[in-house]
Amino acid sequence: MVPELGHFALILALCVAIVQATVPLAGTVWRVPGWIALARPAASAQMLFLVLAFGALVWSFIANDFSVAYVAQNSNSALPLEYRISAVWGGHEGSLLLWGLILGGWTFAVAMFSRRLPDDMVARVIAVMGLISIGFLLFMLLTSNPFDRLVPPAPDGRDLNPLLQDFGLIVHPPMLYMGYVGFSVAFAFAIAALIEGRLDATWARWSRPWTIVAWVFMTFGIALGSWWAYYELGWGGWWFWDPVENASFMPWLIGTALIHSLAVSEKRNTFKNWTVLLAIFAFSLSLLGTFLVRSGVLTSVHAFASDPARGIFILAFLLLVIGGSLALFAWRAPAVKSTGHFQLVARETAMLSGNVLLVVAMGAVLLGTLYPLILDAFALGKISVGPPYFNAVFVPLMAPLLLILGVGPHMRWKQDDAATLLRRYRFVLLVSVVAGILLPLVAYGTVTPGVGLGVALACWVVGGSVVDLGRRVRTSRGLRGVPRSYWGMTTAHAGLAVVVVGVTLTSAYSTESDVRMAPGESLEMAGYTFHFDSVDQVAGPNYDASFGHFRITAADGSQVARLNPEKRIYRVQTMPMTEAGIDGGLFRDLFIAMGEPLGDGAWAVRIYHKPFIAWLWLGAILMGCGGLLAASDRRYRLAVKSAQAATVGPVATAES
C-alpha cells in the first residue's frame, strides 16, 4: 500500500511540475498576474509530493518490504537501520528520487527566499526548474520506478553493497547531489535572463549566493567522497580519476570559474555572455555526469545497473535541455553588450585567465574521460586513460593558476600598475621560493623540483593574501572594516593552498610496505615500529570479521597508537571488505590494512605512512567555509532590497 502511495505521489509531482513549468511562463508572456503568482505555490506543492514519495520509499526500506524490487536489491533484514535508510540512495532508482527531491528542495528554497525579487523573474526561474523536474520525474516513472513490485516477493533482500555500508556513504551522495542540483538554480537564473533578454548586473547579483552555496555543497561532497575512498577502499588512495569522480569534478571546475565570473559580471558589467555560458555548462556537466554514470557507456567502480534504454532517454533529455539552452544562447547572446573596459594589467585580466585555465582543465578531464569510449566505440582498441595522463595535463594547468591567484585578486579593476605590484609582492615572491626549497629539505632531507614548486606556490598564494589583508586593515577601519565576502575569498584561497601542500607532500613523501606478517612479528618503517599482536574472530550484525590488533611505537619505545584493521566478509554477498586502521594526525597518517590470510596465521599486511594527507580535507573544509562566508555577506541581503530600483548595478570601486 505505502509503495503505491509513493508511486501516486510521484505521478502527482509530475502533474504539478507540468503546471509549474508552463503556466507561470505563459503568464510572463501574456502578462497574467494570476498565472505568474502560481509559480510559488506550485513549487511548494511539488516539494510536498516529492517528500511524500521519498518518505514512502524510506518507509519501505525501514519496514523491510521485499515485495518492492528496489528494496529487495539493495537491502536485507539483517542490515542495520542507519544503512537501511542510506540504502534508499544506494542504487539507481532511489538515487534518482533523491535527485528529484533535492531539485524540489532547491526550487522551494528559491520560492521562499526570493520575496524581494521581481515576480516575473521568479516565475521564469521556477518554471525552468519545473521543466528540469518534468524530465527527471518522467525518467523515473517510465524507466526507473523505485516502487516497482516484485512478483513473487523476495524472501529476503540482496543486501546493500558492503562498500556502501559506511558513514561516508550516508552523507556523500546527498551532499554531492545538493551541489549538482544546486547548479540548476544558476542555470535557471541564466535561462530566465536569456528568455527575458535582460542580462545585467542585477541578474549576476541574484545568482551569486545561490551558485556559491551549490559550489560549497559540491566541494564538501567531493571531499567526503575522496575521504571515504581513502579509508574504505583500503589501498590508501584518495583520488582515482575514475569516470564518476571526473563527472563530479568537471562541474566543480566550471562552478569555480562561474562564481568568479559572476563576480566580474556583477561588479564590472562585463564577461556577461561568458558567465551565462558557464552557468549553462556547470549544470549541463551535472546532467552529463548523470548520463555517463547511468547509461552504461562507461565502466566505473561506481557503476549503476545500466541499461541502454535509459541512456536513450537521458540523451533525449540532454538534447532538449542543453541543446535548447545553447540554441537560446546563440540567439540572444549577440545582443548583449558588455560595458566594462579594462587594460592588460587589471583584475579582470587575472579573472579571465584563471577562468580560461579552469575551463581548459575541465576540457582535459572531459577528453580523458571520453577518450577510451571513443576508441572503444570505433573499435580502435581498449585502453584506459589513467592517472599518468591526468597528472601530466593537470599540473601544468594548475601551476599558472596558482601563480595568478597569489596576486590577481589583489589587483585593481580596470587598470593596475605592474611596477607597483612587483614592488609590493617581491618580498612574498622571494620568501615563497626560499620556503619551497628549504621547508621540504629541513623536514624530509630531500627536495624535488615538483615539491619545491608546490610548496612555493602554496606559500605565494597565502603570502599574497596576507600582504593584501595587511594593506586593507591599514586603509579601512581595522579588521572590522573588512567585509565578510573578503574573508570568504581569503579563506577559500588559503584552503586551496592547503590542498596543494597536502597533494604535493603526500604524493612525494608517502612510504608503504606490503608485507607478510604473522601475530608477534613487527616491522619498522618511517621511524615507527608496527607490532602485529593478534587476530580475533568477531561477528558483526551482517558480517564476520577477522579483527586485527596492532600496536605502533615510536623510536624511543613509547606507544603511538593501537589500531584495529579488519577484514570483513559480508554474509549475503560473500564479499570481502577491508576496514583500514588509521591513526590520523595533522602532519601524518599511519594506515594499516589487512589483505588476504596467507596460512599459518600470517596475513598480507599493507602499512602506509602518509605525510600531510589530512591537509587535503582540511583544505577542502576551508574552501567550503570560505564559500559560506562569502555567500552570507550582508551585501546580498541589502542588495536584494535595492535590486528592484536599479537595473544596472553600481560600478564598483576597488572594493572586494
Partner: protein, 184 residues
C-alpha cells in the same frame, strides 16, 4: 546571429552525436563496455563438475557440452537483469534453437527452484554453484553472462549482460550457424 555564438551548440551536438552512436552500438551488441578481452576465447572450457540444481545426486560438467553447440548462461534468483533476459531464453527454448545450460551462481537452492517454478525453466539443466568457484574459473564477474561453447567444448564467445532478441540476431545466431557447420 553571429557564427561564433553557435560554437558551443555545435560542440554539444557533436558530443550528443557520439553518445547516440555509442548507445545504438550498445543496443545492437556491437559495443559493450563491460566486455573485456577474455583469455578463455577459443580455449577449452575450464573443466568442472557440479551437482544438478534439480537432482543434487546427479552432476553436470564439461562433458555435457561435447558434441553440440550449446549456451552456458550464468544466472541467479537474486539477479534482476536475469529477469530481463529470461523471457527471451524461454522463447529460445520453445523454438528449440540451441540447448541452454545454466550455471546457478551463488544462490540458495530453494530460491533458485522457486524462481524457475514461477517464471519457467528454459534450461536443459542448471549446475548449482553455491560457492561461485566455477564462476571464478570461467572469469564471471557479473550476472548474467552467457557463453557459447562449440562441439569440441571450446568457449567461442562470452557475452556479459542480458541477451536480447536484437543482440541474439546480430551476435549469437550467425556464430552458432557457423559453429554448427564446422567439423567436430
Amino acid at each position: 546571429m553571429k557564427a561564433r555564438f553557435l560554437i558551443p551548440l555545435g560542440l554539444f551536438l557533436a558530443l550528443a552525436g557520439l553518445f547516440w552512436f555509442v548507445l545504438n552500438q550498445m543496443n545492437r551488441g556491437d559495443y559493450n563496455p563491460r566486455e573485456l578481452p577474455s583469455a578463455l576465447i577459443d580455449k577449452p572450457a575450464p573443466t568442472f563438475s557440479l551437482p544438478n540444481l534439480h537432482q543434487p545426486d546427479q552432476t553436470i560438467g564439461t562433458p555435457n557440452f561435447l558434441g553440440q553447440v550449446s549456451l552456458f548462461n550464468v544466472w541467479a534468483s537474486w539477479c534482476v537483469s536475469c529477469r530481463v533476459e529470461h523471457p527471451f531464453f524461454m522463447e529460445l527454448a520453445r523454438r528449440n534453437e540451441v540447448p541452454i545450460y545454466g550455471l546457478n551462481y551463488k544462490d540458495e537452492r530453494a530460491d533458485a527452484l522457486r524462481w524457475l517454478d514461477q517464471l519457467g525453466n528454459p534450461y536443459v539443466a542448471s549446475a548449482f554453484d553455491f560457492e561461485g568457484r566455477v564462476g571464478i574459473d570461467w572469469g564471471v564477474y557479473g550476472v548474467p553472462e552467457t557463453f557459447v561453447v562449440d562441439k569440441a567444448g571450446k568457449i567461442r564467445m562470452r557475452f556479459p549482460g542480458p541477451v536480447t532478441e536484437a543482440i541474439w540476431n546480430r551476435k549469437f545466431a550467425p556464430l552458432i550457424a557457423q559453429l554448427r557447420s564446422e567439423q567436430g
